[in-house]
């Protein structure tokens, strides 16, 4: 590092981060001119602000305090109705945004990952692919996806549909159920009874 008065000024004023401060200190330790300058600057800042410390604090008059408080109270009262409306609108905007994000996320997951399974391999893929992807959508979905992967005939699908109501994802599970029926009929097996 070369001699840099601005850096010394920054260091003396306490405005350098720890790494830069160490770098400038190291330089000053090896450069007598900078060391002297740094000591001088530090002394100037210390003494100058110590002088300002000797100025007595000032207080406004009682009448000025009363005036300011009264004006502040009026301003707060004017502000309150607007504020409540703002907060109300914000809350609803937030809820609407969350709902929209959920619907879009579900549609995205469906559009990207769902294809009606027609074979055992496709079903395996569905369990390992879309079920895993859905797990990312929410913790709730993760729990359910795990249950479905472990045992397709658990009540997990029921819970899923109940959770999502008439959403597209619920529809997907119904489609999935029909696919399983078809596969099992093709393989000569019978699906265990269930109800939605």
């Amino acid at each position: 590092m070369t001699c840099d008065r601005d850096q010394l000024l920054l260091l003396a004023a306490g405005e350098l981060d720890a790494a830069d401060a160490r770098r400038v200190e190291r330089h000053a330790a090896q450069c007598p001119a900078c060391a002297r300058a740094l000591a001088g600057l530090r002394a100037d800042f210390r003494a100058g602000f110590a002088a300002l410390d000797r100025l007595p604090p000032l207080e406004p008059s009682g009448a000025a305090v009363d005036r300011a408080l009264a004006a502040g109270r009026q301003a707060l009262a004017r502000r309150r109705p607007v504020l409540l409306v703002t907060l109300h609108v914000r809350r609803w905007a937030l809820l609407a945004a969350a709902a929209l994000a959920l619907v879009l996320g579900i549609d995205l997951a469906r559009g990207l990952h769902y294809t009606r399974p027609r074979s055992g391999a496709q079903l395996d893929q569905l369990w390992s692919g879309p079920a895993g992807e859905l797990a990312d959508t929410s913790n709730r979905a993760a729990d359910l996806a795990e249950s479905v992967a472990a045992d397709p005939w658990t009540r997990a699908a029921d819970m899923f549909v109940a959770d999502l109501g008439a959403s597209n994802l619920g529809g997907q599970l119904l489609d999935l159920d029909e696919s399983l029926d078809l596969l099992q009929q093709e393989n000569g097996g019978a699906k265990e009874p269930h109800s939605y």
């Binding site: 405005e15 100037d44 100058g48 300002l52 007595p56 000025a64 005036r67 301003a75 502000r79 703002t86």
Partner: protein, 192 residues
């Protein structure tokens, strides 16, 4: 100097003010009125004007609370409002206008701007001469140099924040600060 305030308490007070809570406003005002007023009085050199500006600072605070983002630097934000008001006042003064609400309410009063702020009587008795000289030194400084020192002293603002508040490069602000401190020392050491 800026009071050492519990951060959580301050965040609660700010939130209270946002909700229009008068108690929260009163507490916030009580916490900061001294340092803000000292800053205003010593920046303008006029205690009556400073009282008007003090009210304006807190009104602007209320009006702009929605723009304040909680960052643990409420004091710096408040002092920035105060500094902007002082700057507006200085600008108007330089255009030869009469300044402040009080000027409108007492049109016959001739204001002496840049006169040293008088110390309270008891302190004036104790160390009156030194304080008077210091006040005089401050008022003799270039206006922006004085602002830099007072924002640092009362607002406890970093030079980086001061630079941003005054719209000046950091190096300029630091150099101004150092120069102003040297001037004060020199004036204080000068006899008489």
């Amino acid at each position: 100097m800026s009071p050492q305030v519990d951060r959580e308490l301050l965040a609660r007070l700010v939130e209270g003010c946002r909700r229009g809570d008068q108690k929260a406003f009163e507490q916030t005002f009580a916490l900061f009125r001294g340092p803000i007023y000292s800053f205003l009085a010593r920046s303008t050199g006029d205690r009556h004007l400073a009282e008007d500006l003090l009210q304006d600072v807190f009104l602007r605070m209320i009006d702009n609370l929605d723009r304040y983002e909680e960052s643990g630097r409420f004091e710096a934000w408040l002092f920035r409002i105060a500094a902007n008001l002082v700057r507006d006042w200085a600008r108007r003064r330089s255009h030869g206008e009469r300044v402040g609400l009080a000027a409108e309410s007492d049109p016959d009063e001739t204001r002496t701007i840049d006169r040293p702020v008088e110390a309270p009587p008891d302190l004036a008795l104790m160390k009156g001469e030194e304080v008077r000289r210091l006040e005089t030194c401050l008022q003799r400084l270039d206006e922006e140099d004085r602002q830099v020192l007072l924002l640092r002293h009362y607002g406890d603002m970093s030079f980086r924040d001061i630079a941003s508040t005054l719209g000046r490069p950091m190096g300029t602000v630091l150099a101004r600060s150092h120069r102003a401190l040297l001037k004060i020392r020199e004036m204080m050491e000068r006899p008489g």
